[in-house]
C-alpha cells in the first residue's frame, strides 16, 4: 500500500531525530554543571510535562465531547495516589473505575 522508500525514510529520520532529542542535553552538556536556577527548574520536569499531556485527553474524548467518567477516574487516581503514594493502587483503581463502568453501560 505504501512505497517502501517512503516508509523507511520516515522510520529512519524519525528514529534518528528522536534519539537526537533524547541525547541532546545529556550528550552535549555532559558533566559541566548546569546553572543553579536551571537545575532548580528541572526538579519540576515530570509535573511540568505529564499533567499537560493528560489534561486534553481527560477533558475531551475522541469525538471532542466531555465524558464525565474520565474526569471521575482521573480524580480517583490523583486522590488515591496522593493519599497512598502507591502507583499500583492508583493505576488499578483508575482503570477499574473507567473500564469497569464503561463495560457496565
Amino acid at each position: 500500500m505504501f512505497d517502501a522508500g517512503y516508509v523507511w525514510t520516515i522510520i529512519i529520520l524519525l528514529g534518528v531525530g528522536t534519539w537526537m532529542i533524547r541525547f541532546s542535553f545529556m550528550g552535549l552538556v555532559g558533566d559541566r554543571p548546569l546553572p543553579a536556577y536551571f537545575r532548580r527548574m528541572l526538579n519540576y520536569s515530570a509535573v511540568a510535562v505529564l499533567p499537560g499531556i493528560c489534561a486534553p485527553i481527560i477533558l475531551t474524548n475522541k469525538t471532542g465531547d466531555f465524558e464525565p467518567l474520565r474526569l471521575i477516574a482521573a480524580a480517583a487516581i490523583l486522590i488515591i495516589g496522593v493519599w497512598t503514594q502507591s502507583l499500583m493502587k492508583s493505576i488499578c483503581a483508575g482503570l477499574l473505575i473507567y473500564f469497569g463502568i464503561n463495560a457496565l453501560f
Binding site: T18, W19, F25, L42, Y44, P51, I77
Partner: protein, 240 residues
C-alpha cells in the same frame, strides 16, 4: 552525597517499580501493531517503528499522517514535535547521568521515554541518596523491560491483528498512568503549582501548532515550580 548501591540493585528496584506500566503499554503497543498493519505496513516496517523510534504517541502521529499521504518531511517534523518534550527529560537527567562516558549516555538516550524518565524523577525525590550507578540501574530497570515488552506486543499486534479489539479506550489508559505517576509528588506546594500551570497552560495554548502549547506550558510550569520553591526557602528561617 554518594552512597554505596550497585547497578543491579537499582535495576531490580526499577524493574518492580515499572511493572504497573506493563498493564497499559502492552495493549497500547499491540494497538500500534494492529493499526500499522491495517494501514499497509509490512512486519519489518511495523517493527522498525517500535524498535528505532520507540515512542508510542509519535509513532501513532506519524502513522495517521502517512494515512493521509503527507510528505515525508511533514510526517517527520510533526512526529518529532510530539517528542520534543524529551529534551526536557534529557536536561533533567544531566545532573545524574552527565558524568558517564559518552557510550553510556548514548544508550541512556535511546531508552528515554515517558515512563522511565518519570519513574526516575519520582525516585530521585523518594531516594535522593542513590549512587550514580544505582540510579542508572533503576532507570534502565524501568526502561529495558518495558521497551522489550513494547517490541513484543507490537509484533503480536502486527501478526495477530484481526483477533484483537482496537477500540478499547486506550487513549485514556496511558494518561491515567501519567497521573498516577505524578500524584505522589503533589504533596509539595511547588510541585502542585507546577502541575496546575502545566494543565492550565496546555488548555490555554491548545490551538498553537506542532504541540508547542504543551512545551510552552511546561516551560511556564518549570518557572512556577522554581519560583515557589525559592520563595518557600527564603521564608523558612522566619518560620522556625
Amino acid at each position: 552525597m554518594q552512597t554505596q548501591g550497585s547497578f543491579f540493585r537499582g535495576f531490580r528496584q526499577g524493574f518492580w517499580s515499572g511493572l504497573p506500566f506493563a498493564l497499559v503499554l502492552g495493549p497500547f503497543g499491540m494497538l500500534f501493531g494492529v493499526i500499522a498493519t491495517e494501514a499497509g505496513l509490512d512486519l519489518a516496517q511495523v517493527m522498525g517503528f517500535s524498535v528505532l523510534v520507540i515512542a508510542g504517541a509519535a509513532q501513532v502521529t506519524a502513522l495517521s499522517l502517512m494515512n493521509e499521504s503527507a510528505p515525508v518531511l511533514i510526517v517527520v517534523f510533526t512526529a518529532l514535535a510530539v517528542n520534543m518534550r524529551m529534551a526536557i527529560y534529557s536536561a533533567a537527567l544531566v545532573e545524574h547521568f552527565g558524568a558517564f562516558p559518552l557510550w553510556k549516555r548514548a544508550v541512556a538516550a535511546y531508552w528515554l521515554f515517558d515512563q522511565p524518565f518519570a519513574m526516575t524523577a519520582v525516585d530521585i525525590n523518594k531516594n535522593p541518596l542513590r549512587s550514580r550507578d544505582e540510579r542508572f540501574g533503576f532507570y534502565l530497570g524501568v526502561a529495558i523491560p518495558l521497551g522489550i515488552l513494547w517490541y513484543v506486543v507490537t509484533y503480536l499486534g502486527a501478526t495477530l491483528g484481526d483477533l484483537l479489539p482496537t477500540d478499547i479506550g486506550m487513549e485514556f489508559a496511558i494518561p491515567a498512568t501519567f497521573l498516577a505517576l505524578v500524584a505522589p509528588l503533589l504533596r509539595s506546594l511547588p510541585h502542585l503549582a507546577a502541575a496546575f500551570t502545566s494543565v492550565a497552560g496546555t488548555l490555554v495554548f491548545a490551538s498553537l501548532p506542532f504541540n508547542s502549547g504543551l512545551l510552552l506550558a511546561a516551560l511556564l510550569a518549570l518557572i512556577v515550580g522554581a519560583e515557589i520553591e525559592k520563595r518557600l526557602e527564603r521564608r523558612r528561617p522566619a518560620d522556625v
